[in-house]
């Protein structure tokens, strides 16, 4: 048999996802209006930029510690870079200096181009500087650099968005001690509790992808989020039915999922 038992449902889900992603992207391209719901951390970005402008202080941004774009956490970093693009435009508009910390070496060209493009789009290419970005080789040295810079430059706001690991609580708590307004977001669910507890706004898990899609406004980004919602609704239907039927001893849905 070509199809291996235990993987049939996965194959159907995979193919179904592709079809839905494509259909929704096409629908949006043809003018269908699909919007991402209000996400408080995104709404807070102009406030954070305004705070920096009023206080005449820089904004810090950390994309986290992913070693490479080629592993699973690379997706978080990419979502973070998309948000960075929109944020950089706000910063360029308000004349606020950005200081970005990253240890994702292969994302450097992407980060540089994203910020540079944002400044060009705002008609201020001369304000862009390569010094905005600090590439630090690994996690612990990134932490020490970030903490030192935090005390030296005293930013008015900081964004910790991307692939964050153990450093999340260290960076966020240090930001708290200097009174910076902080916006965070990660998919790494071990770190979410710390970010929720120690930052002002937090993009919890998949909200990070939704936020990136919302700021990009591109059909190719919003389409998959809309398609995912359809898959989630189907999943919700299956789970509700399964939970209701289980006490009656009816478990055909469990068997179906095992196909």
């Amino acid at each position: 048999m070509i199809l291996k038992e235990g993987r049939i449902v996965a194959l159907i889900l995979l193919l179904g996802s592709f079809v839905l992603f494509y259909l929704y992207s096409q629908m949006i391209e043809q003018g269908k209006k699909i919007t991402i719901r209000t996400l408080a951390p995104l709404e807070a970005i102009p406030e954070a930029v305004g705070r920096c402008a009023e206080m005449g202080k820089p904004m810090f941004y950390c994309t986290g510690i992913t070693g490479s774009l080629s592993n699973a956490a690379g997706a978080y970093t990419l979502a973070s870079i998309t948000i960075l693009g929109s944020l950089s435009r706000e910063l360029a508009k308000a004349g606020v200096r950005l200081k970005l910390f990253t240890s994702t070496i292969d994302a450097m060209p992407l980060i540089q181009e994203t910020i540079k493009n944002a400044y060009e789009l705002e008609g201020k290419p001369e304000d862009y500087s390569e010094d905005f970005i600090e590439l630090i080789a690994n996690q612990s040295s990134l932490v020490s650099r970030y903490l030192g810079s935090l005390q030296r430059e005293n930013p008015a706001a900081a964004c910790l968005i991307g692939s964050l690991a153990y450093e999340s609580v260290v960076l966020a708590e240090a930001g708290n001690t200097i009174g910076a307004m902080q916006i965070s977001g990660t998919i790494n669910y071990y770190q979410i509790p710390f970010l929720v507890a120690s930052t002002d706004y937090c993009l919890i898990s998949e909200e990070l992808y939704a936020a990136a899609a919302a700021v990009s406004g591109e059909a190719g980004s919003i389409g998959p989020i809309a398609a995912e919602d359809v898959i989630k609704l189907i999943t919700l239907g299956i789970m509700t039915l399964g939970v209701v039927l289980a006490p009656m001893g009816i478990t055909f849905l469990v068997n179906l999922l095992g196909m």
Binding site: G74, D106, S141, Y190, L245, L257
Partner: protein
């Protein structure tokens, strides 16, 4: 392990201890000269290690096989070299091909490993009746079942949390916060163990504890 007597081993031990104290001085004295010294030493050493490891890996994984006649390894080498075109404004666009390939490979690898364990198995586990038949087993089953349903409804993004979604999303957020609280507690315990590890190291260096 016996306390070292050789000069190089003793130096390594004490450098580690001094740098540990220097980094921890941040908690008491904020950014200070000792911390700044440790910070810069750390950044320099980290870059040196990453550079050496990168060269060794490139040599081991791609250059050596290529020199042994495996011509296919020219592809990752060219893609890697493409990254360096960011330094030449005229050919900067070449780096986009390298990045696009990296991202494409990442997405393919991630997708293949997510569907069954992270979605299908999770849904199946949520609706599988409990093995035991005590009251508590069923309470847990319904808590997990309805908690998961409400939490998933919180992560619907193309609809505002109004109407029928308002109560489920709100309950979902509460369930999420309970879960996050549990994880917070667990991780704090783990961090305490890490701190205890560093204190143990310092006590070993000054000879209070045996190495």
């Amino acid at each position: 392990m016996a306390y070292p007597t050789e000069l190089w081993a003793l130096t390594g031990l004490w450098v580690g201890a001094i740098l540990t104290v220097a980094i921890y001085s941040y908690m008491l004295y904020k950014e200070n000269p000792l911390y700044r010294l440790a910070e810069h030493v750390y950044i320099g050493i980290a870059f040196a290690i990453v550079a050496v490891v990168a060269v060794q890996n490139t040599n081991r994984i791609a250059v050596t096989p290529l020199l042994n006649g495996e011509i296919v390894f020219i592809i990752p080498l060219l893609l890697g070299l493409g990254m360096y075109t960011v330094f030449i404004e005229k050919y900067r666009w070449v780096s986009r091909y390298s990045i696009a390939t990296l991202v494409g490979v990442m997405l393919a690898v991630v997708t293949s490993g997510i569907l069954i364990p992270n979605i299908i198995n999770q849904v199946a586990s949520t609706i599988t009746p409990p093995m035991g038949s005590t009251m508590m087993d069923w309470v847990n089953f319904f808590y997990i079942g309805f908690g998961t349903i409400c939490s998933v409804s919180y992560f619907l993004f193309t609809r505002e949390h109004t109407g029928i979604l308002a109560p489920t999303a709100r309950l979902g957020r509460l369930v999420l916060m309970v879960g996050l609280g549990v994880m917070f507690g667990n991780t704090v315990l783990f961090r305490m163990a890490m701190l205890a590890g560093r204190i143990e190291y310092l006590l070993q260096v000054v000879g209070i504890l045996p190495l």
